[in-house]
């Protein structure tokens, strides 16, 4: 029998305190579980729910209620931040996530620095924080996770990403200025989430991978700005999950430098080994989203048990879920963890 509430369990896990069993979560943002099957059933649908707080919170509840994940995860995309900073968005469809139509700036040197305070003026930021407020008040036992797009991914969503990557090397000073600017606004956004009841902040930064940047730039940019953001959120008194995409063999020492309370990783990273190498790390992950989409409940159930055997601290999907994943597959996953 569960002794702890889902919120206590997650918070204790993030503090490395003893828990009754492992939590199983899906933090939202890049990793959201707004499956087509759920939306068709409940009628709270995307893309509308990206805009309207009453729909957003209902969909977040539907996801929680149907999947068995032990949290609310908001929003359901990675475009809120870039939109507030000037990039036009294509909101996609029921099954297709929103994307940047075209980045607002061609170069880091073209970026117009908007004054602090633009986040709270964004209608979509408002939808996110109002949803967090509503859910955290109404369901105080369930952790409400606010998901942020990380500094590099947000920067690469306002500046043409190919140019941006080159400029990380060629125009260091201007690139740092943009990252610093973006990080400042992300801190403001996180503050709004925290003020409105977010239990945990989750940061996903898919552009900031060791594979794309290499170890040197990963340290100079990804670790530096993610930590700046994490430190600011810690000062607000809230724990932070950091998700790093891709293979990370090359940047393992840098991963250990991240200040996040838990590090969430992709499917092909051996978390068991990582736990042994860096025993202070709180690990999160990493059931393959490929398995979740293309496999069957039995196989998923068995694989989920492997995560428990490896004592991964917080159990979650390894990356962004396919919106066409079958609900019964997700349920097999969460059930396997909950009956521990």
């Amino acid at each position: 029998m569960d002794v702890l509430t889902p919120k206590e369990r997650l918070l204790r896990s993030l503090k490395k305190e003893k828990v009754d069993r492992h939590p199983v979560i899906c933090p939202g943002g890049m990793m959201n579980a707004a499956l087509v099957e759920i939306m068709q059933h409940t009628g709270h649908t995307l893309p509308e729910a990206h805009h309207v707080d009453s729909l957003m919170r209902e969909l977040a509840y539907d996801v929680y209620d149907n999947t068995g994940f032990e949290n609310f995860g908001i929003p359901f995309c990675m475009t809120v931040e870039a939109e507030a900073l000037g990039s036009p968005i294509d909101f996609g469809s029921l099954s297709c996530e929103p994307k940047i139509k075209v980045e607002a700036y061609k170069s880091v040197k073209d970026v117009e620095f908007k004054p602090r305070g633009v986040m709270e003026k964004s209608s979509r930021v408002a939808a996110v924080v109002q949803s967090l407020h509503y859910l955290s008040e109404k369901y105080p036992d369930v952790p409400a996770i606010g998901s942020l797009t990380g500094p590099l991914s947000t920067s690469a969503s306002i500046v043409d990403p190919m140019t941006f990557l080159k400029q990380l090397r060629r125009e260091k000073e201007a690139a740092h200025k943009v990252l610093d600017y973006v990080t400042g606004h992300l801190i403001d956004y996180a503050q709004l989430m925290v003020d409105n009841g977010a239990t945990v902040i989750s940061i996903a930064d898919p552009t900031a991978t060791g594979e794309i940047l290499g170890p040197k730039m990963f340290k100079e940019y990804a670790v530096y700005y993610i930590n700046k953001l994490v430190d600011a959120i810690h000062a607000m008194g809230v724990p932070v999950i950091v998700h790093i995409c891709g293979e990370m063999a090359m940047v393992k020492p840098q991963i250990a430098e991240l200040h996040g309370d838990a590090i969430s990783v992709d499917a092909f990273v051996n978390l068991k080994q990582m736990k042994e190498e860096y025993n202070t790390l709180t690990t999160m992950g990493n059931l393959s989203t490929y398995l979740l989409e293309f496999s069957d409940p039995d196989t998923i159930y068995k694989q989920s048990k492997v995560l428990l055997r490896n004592n991964i601290d917080i159990i979650s999907p390894a990356c962004g879920l396919s919106t066409s994943t079958a609900l019964k597959n997700i349920q097999a996953f969460t059930t396997a963890i909950k009956e521990e």
Binding site: M162, L165, L168, R169, G214, G246, F294, S324
Partner: protein
Amino acid sequence: MAKTAEELNKELADAVVDMDEELVGDLANEVIENGYDPLNAIDQGLAKGMDEAGKLFEEEEYFVPELLMCSDAVNTGIDILKPHIHLDDAGERHKIVVGVIEGDTHDIGKNLVKVMLSAANFEVIDAGRDVPPEVFVDTAVKEGAQIIMIAALMTTTMDRIADTINLIKERGLEGKIKVVIGGAPISPAFAKKIGADAYSINANAAVRIAREMLG
């Protein structure tokens, strides 16, 4: 004393590896001033340099930013050399359609493949990102391309790759248009399962595969 064509080609290749756009520009102008073969300078200079950069990428010496800068250097050189190529020397370049499958907008991988193929002197038709299966096949037919390279970065979108391959079969184009696939969630096993002609582990491998397929 003027440098020989070979010396210039070697320096061009090195300048590409060093990401030195300016030097590549100077050297390309030197090729023209000396009356050397511009096509040869592309093949034996710029493309060789890009091959070397691709190797460094596979060896994890270079990463995406470096590779992009090398490719900028190649493009600078090509822009200078190209107007001096006599059309009948050039022969016909093979065309390859590249794109990111429908539903997916992560195009770093696709752009890298494009960069590497262009530097290897293939004519690349970029179908963009979020490309539906019909558009891939229509574009290949219209352009007379023999290869389609499809990238997917999310498991969400992998089904649509299989749809593209099935569409090629339905239209009786099997064997005439080959499909190469790659991207983080893709595995050789998945490529085999859906009947793709090849799986490419990275952008550099894509060039090798294209060369093999087109002889």
